[in-house]
């Protein structure tokens, strides 16, 4: 652990600890099931860790708190009425290309399309849509080097606002063609990470965030769920597991010691998993933390593509089949 970051001691805690977030998340479970909300609740039900979430929100500096609240005003446009006349889509590949172009023009760093699957929904939730368009918007790397400070937290909130605007623009365009589309920006109703992985935005890193070729983990996600016919993207293998198996940067730098060096069973899948109970306390103390994203070697601007090439070449050499 480096001493660059605040120490993991806390002046707040639970007198009676709630059920472990790792249990809620299904750590150690061998059978598949959908996720349960544990933090950043949608308001649909009171969560076991809601007191900590309330503390997190209400002890934020006003500049961040107000931004978050005002972002909600913008999010009212995430859904809306459809055009009366539906534009036929004879060529789904052409439509995908057109929508990706609109998203990129609006500022998206990466765009991927995937069929909508149940693993992107929490238990008890429904979203009757055919596909998901996932957008990744990079954060300013230099600003994010100040992780654990108000400055970096403000950049994160602003990135969520900007990526929300992109998905809202995209959803509005699709609705203007007469097809259902709902934007999910800073939403607690949708799990963006499984969708992003399926849409080929990147792969899951050991720090629990998606690592994409170009921006590493230094981006925020938002999605549009829609019924418009689209050509789907597929998952990618850019060598993230090769890096994470050998690299210990985030594991060492995480002051809360929340990142494991091995993949674990979570709801029936073996994958990288971050210890919720350790992570969340530090997350709350440090305005949303973000250390693991910032220290990841893949997040350094310009580094990703060559790093991916090197890792894949090494693997091919090691295992020519």
């Amino acid at each position: 652990m480096t001493n660059r970051f605040p120490t993991p001691d806390y002046h707040f805690n639970y007198r009676k600890a709630p059920v472990s977030g790792n249990t809620i998340n299904g750590l150690g479970e061998m059978s598949q099931r959908r996720a349960r909300q544990v933090f950043h609740g949608s308001g649909a039900r009171k969560l076991e860790w809601s007191a900590l979430e309330t503390f997190f929100g209400l002890t934020m500096p006003l500049q961040i708190y107000i931004r978050n609240a005002l972002n909600r005003w913008e999010l009212r446009k995430a859904d809306g009425p459809l055009a009366r006349k539906r534009t036929p889509v004879p060529d789904s590949a052409k439509m995908s290309k057109q929508l990706k172009s609109i998203a990129r023009h609006a500022g998206a760093g990466a765009v991927g399309i995937t069929p909508m699957t149940e693993d992107a929904l929490y238990e008890g939730q429904t979203a009757d849509y055919q596909s998901a368009i996932v957008i990744a918007l990079p954060q300013d790397y230099e600003t994010m080097r100040a992780v654990t400070t108000v400055k970096a937290a403000t950049e994160t909130v602003d990135t969520y606002r900007d990526v929300s605007r992109i998905v809202m623009t995209l959803a509005a365009h699709i609705r203007s063609l007469g097809w259902r589309a709902r934007a999910y920006g800073e939403s607690a109703d949708l799990l963006h990470i499984p969708l992003a992985i399926n849409a080929g935005i990147g792969q899951l890193g050991k720090h629990g965030s998606v690592i994409g070729t170009e921006f590493g983990s230094n981006f925020r996600l938002a999605s549009v769920l829609t019924d418009i016919p689209l050509a789907m993207d597929s998952t990618v293998d850019i060598g993230v597991d090769d890096l994470c198996l050998g690299c210990q940067r985030c594991t060492i730098d995480c002051p809360a010691d929340a990142i494991s060096n091995r993949q674990q069973w979570v709801r029936g899948k073996k994958k990288w998993y971050v210890d919720f109970d350790r992570c969340v306390m530090y997350f709350v103390k440090t305005f949303g933390c973000g250390i693991c994203i910032e220290v990841c070697p893949w997040s350094r601007p310009g580094r990703g593509p060559s790093l991916s090439q090197t890792l894949l070449a090494k693997r091919a050499k090691r295992d020519p089949t």
Binding site: Y10, H11, F12, N13, Y14, R15, K16, P18, S42, G43, A44, R45, K46, L47, E48, S50, A51, L52, T54, F55, G57, L58, T59, M60, L62, Y65, I66, A69, L70, R72, W73, L75, R76, A78, D79, G80, P81, L82, R182, Y184, S187, A188, D189
Partner: protein, 69 residues
Amino acid sequence: MSSFETRFYCTERAIWPRIQRNLSLVVWIAKVILAWFTQGRRLRKAGRHALREKRVLYLDDLIDSGKDD
């Protein structure tokens, strides 16, 4: 309780439901901001005291906790 999406997303074309939605969202945001100045003020003050006195602030004592379902 219902989620933000359920409460404030409106797909109706008519203007009145959207005005109603906007009004209820303004009230919701105003309540959220007010909470920072009221409950938030108490929490931040208690947090500062705990930090200064090097003791732990127990969230269960100050914030309603637990499941409702």
